[in-house]
């Protein structure tokens, strides 16, 4: 079998994003530049009572934004719609041929919010009168299928459900399938819609901050849940150059590891996270000294932020600026690896590092430069984007300025 060829460079020729701070790259980057977060009172589940009441929701009418008629859109889950909207922006920017393009999507919940609706209707109306179509939208393979069907993609579909590391893994997988020439282009990203199960579940784990999350801060108490989607269009560099495409960044490599430690908690010393960053450096044939910025997983939980900090110090050192974009749009769970990959690509393109908001004072166990409050113009050639998930799965992506 062909192996992924390390000499094949991967170009990013398109990017799309939707989350609580914007419907596209321009809106999202404006919010980043203005230090404007998208964390508000939860509105999605009226009548439900949760211990916390903040979320980073997408407030838009998604049906009006999906590039399909409303009847087709109605068959899609909320995660599907978010995915299609972000993928549409990425594909439009890239202008790439799609006949042999593969879709690689990470998602942790898929259409679970529709599955919940089915479950509640079944409780009220009985099994025969609950709409089965809602359950058909539930599988985590749904968003990849929805993107592929909307844009008539013929190169294959693959879905990655590796909890919050899903989208990072999906992007890495797509890059390797291009390197092995299993496809000519990849629409790679992630999506997750807020649902009751995750909102309740992180609350019962006592992992949610009652206030807006404050990653790396001395007052941090947990995450703020968000939702969103983002996609990158990936191509082999030579193919992109041959068709005269504008390359917006290079995906130089990735590392994927597992803590093998605990079903929900990260390893205290960041063992797997460190190995993932080292793996990305190795895959990219880069060095710790070459890294100019790290877009951290930075959830705002006590354990994540301290263990990730230890991992960064061990893998890259103490001199690299680090920030958490989750302080803007919360933790978008299975989508986070893609949403934050797009932020990292935009940071490299604009030569501005996004800050960590609400970082009044860094915690004693977080001794790095976390770029507090305001964006920082700086020269950046290479950046890492970290994403970690339940089960101790870790993925680190390494991007380079085009």
């Amino acid at each position: 079998m062909r192996k992924p060829d390390p000499n094949v460079r991967i170009a990013v020729t398109g990017a799309g994003i939707i989350c609580s701070i914007g419907r596209n790259k321009d809106e999202v980057w404006s919010a980043i530049a203005e230090s404007r977060a998208g964390i508000r009172k939860l509105t999605r589940f009226p009548g439900e009572t949760f211990p916390t009441d903040l979320a980073a929701e997408v407030d838009e009418d998604l049906d009006a934004m999906v590039p399909l008629d409303r009847r087709d859109a109605k068959r899609m889950s909320r995660s599907d719609k978010l995915a299609v909207i972000a993928a549409a922006e990425a594909i439009a920017q890239a202008g790439v041929a799609l006949e042999r393009a593969i879709v690689s999507t990470g998602t942790s919940t898929g259409g679970l919010v529709e599955g919940e609706d089915y479950y509640f209707k079944r409780l009220l109306r009985g099994r025969r009168r609950a709409p089965a179509s809602l359950v058909l939208q539930q599988p985590t393979s749904g968003p990849s299928d929805a993107v592929a069907r909307t844009f008539n993609l013929g190169g294959g579909v693959v879905s990655n459900a590796t909890a919050c590391a899903s989208a990072g893994a999906a992007i890495g997988m797509a890059a390797d399938y291009l390197r092995a020439r299993h496809a000519d282009a990849a629409i790679a990203g992630g999506t997750d819609a807020l649902c009751r199960l995750t909102y309740s579940g992180f609350n019962v784990l006592q992992a949610v901050d009652g206030e807006a999350c404050a990653p790396f801060s001395s007052r941090r108490k947990g995450i703020t849940l968000g939702e969103g989607a983002a996609y990158l269009v990936l191509e082999r560099w030579d193919d992109a150059a041959a068709r005269g495409a504008q390359v917006i960044a290079e995906l130089c490599g990735y590392g994927a590891t597992c803590d093998a430690h605990h079903p929900t908690a990260p390893h205290e010393e960041g063992r797997g996270a460190e190995a993932a960053m080292r793996g990305a450096l190795c895959d990219a044939r880069s060095t710790a000294e070459a890294i100019d910025y790290i877009n951290a997983h930075g959830t705002g939980t006590l354990l994540n932020d301290s263990s990730e900090t230890k991992a960064i110090i061990a893998a890259v050192g103490t001199g690299v600026p680090v920030s958490s974009s989750k302080s803007y749009f919360g933790h978008t769970l299975g989508a986070s690896g893609a949403v934050e990959a797009v932020i990292t690509v935009l940071a490299l393109a604009n030569q501005i590092a996004p800050p960590t908001l609400r970082l009044e004072s860094a915690a004693a166990d977080c001794p790095l430069d976390y770029i507090p409050h305001t964006p920082r113009p700086m020269r950046m050639q290479q950046a890492l984007s970290n994403t970690f998930g339940f089960g101790g799965s870790n993925v680190s992506l390494l991007f380079k300025r085009a």
Binding site: S141, R149, A161, A165
Partner: protein, 397 residues
């Protein structure tokens, strides 16, 4: 030429715990599907599924850990333990884990929502939430064996396990790690069964026709669903005689497929098969047999049949295995294991459930047959259009 060895197999399947029992199931030629007693099927058209029986999780998992695992995790951890035992030794901690699941933890999500309704959003059990993620089985496998390489879970419907194998082999071939635990898990849940029944996907009694999966048969009227866990050990440099080798993959998508059904994209299916053969650096005439994706649904079987007839001048022998253990069983991994056993034993299996040819389609094997098998093509064609094909080979080169 790169080929990845399969050196261990673990199976928790309908009608079989362990690879030897699974081999016996296939040799016996009888389906493992039985009438469902796990939930009430009254009012549904289908009443049969291939469920795992005689599985004793505590034979594989310590009681304290068992309480924290849902059925999928138990299937996965037990299958991984059996695969390690079959390999004869533990893997290096550098190894990775790639699991596939078609529907994942739907039942766990339902159980969680039940508690949510009864106790409130703040008091639902955290342990159920931890098991509500699709990668929980892979995570437990990694923790139990201390495996620190990649740990990913692929969910691509019927193709899930094959897609997981494709990723794992790509990473081993790339040299990222020396070995991986690869497999799949799924369970028969009331909600998924009920919905598949309502949309008309499941086999059902129709006049004199019994409720049974009949791949490629004229009288087929739907699939039987299955469950279980199955794990392979894939590695670059085997220390023992492997079952067989994985030598190539092809991937494509049928753009005519709807979100929940198969399409008619013969060329897409053919192209994935051709790509797998080319990736294996072989020609079509090198393929000795096909382990088919056929699941006895109206659209999937003729699609694959037409693609085979289009691609091959002379279609090799075709084996349809899903009559034994159902669709979705172990995330699709059992079909793969059947093909590996065929290469090891140099014996094709009979296709259970088939008896009356549909003259518009190819006919699968009716009885098992000893013959020289060097390369087998394994197909997986999903509702929604995803296609993954793999070539398995007897020899390392």
């Amino acid at each position: 030429m790169t080929r990845i060895a399969i050196t261990g197999i673990g199976v928790v399947a309908p009608g079989a715990i362990g690879v030897d029992a699974f081999s016996d199931l296939l040799d016996g030629g009888q389906t493992a599907a039985t009438k469902i007693d796990r939930f009430d099927t009254n009012g549904l058209t289908a009443h049969t599924a291939a469920v795992v029986r005689d599985f004793v999780p505590r034979d594989f998992i310590a009681p304290m850990k068992l309480r924290r695992m849902n059925n999928l995790s138990r299937f996965g951890v037990a299958a991984a333990r059996l695969a390690m035992n079959d390999r004869g030794s533990e893997l290096t901690t550098a190894a990775g884990v790639a699991m596939g699941t078609a529907f994942g933890p739907v039942q766990t999500s339902v159980d969680y929502m039940q508690e949510y309704v009864e106790k409130g959003a703040a008091l639902a059990p955290p342990q159920l939430f931890a098991e509500s993620v699709a990668n929980a089985p892979g995570s437990h496998v990694g923790i139990e064996s201390g495996l620190r390489g990649f740990n990913i879970t692929v969910t691509q419907r019927e193709s899930s396990a094959l897609a997981a194998l494709m990723y794992a082999c790509s990473q081993i071939a790339k040299g990222v790690l020396p070995a991986a635990v690869v497999g799949g898990v799924d369970e028969v849940s009331e909600i998924v069964f009920g919905v598949l029944d309502r949309v008309g996907t499941l086999a059902h009694r129709n006049g004199a026709v019994d409720e049974c999966a009949r791949p490629f048969d004229r009288r087929r009227n739907g699939m039987v669903v299955g469950e279980g866990g199955a794990v392979l050990i894939a590695e670059a440099a085997p220390r023992k005689q492997p079952y067989a080798f994985v030598s190539g993959f092809g991937i494509a998508r049928d753009t005519t497929a709807t979100i929940s059904d198969w399409g008619s994209g013969v060329e897409a299916v053919s192209s994935a098969m051709r790509a797998a053969v080319e990736d294996a650096e072989l020609s079509l005439h090198n393929i000795d047999a096909i382990y088919s994706s056929a699941n006895a649904t109206r659209k999937a079987d003729p699609l694959e049949s037409r693609a085979l007839q289009t691609l091959f001048d002379d279609v090799p022998l075709v084996v349809a295995t899903k009559g034994y253990f159902g669709e979705y069983a172990a995330g699709g991994a059992l079909q793969l294991i059947a093909a590996l056993l065929a290469l090891r034993d140099q014996k094709l299996h009979a296709s259970t459930g088939f008896s009356e040819p549909d003259h518009a389609m190819i006919s699968p094997t009716r009885r098992s047959e000893n013959r020289e098998l060097r390369h087998i093509l394994v197909n997986s064609i999903s509702a929604g259009g995803g296609i993954v094909c793999a070539v398995l080979s007897r020899d390392a080169s």
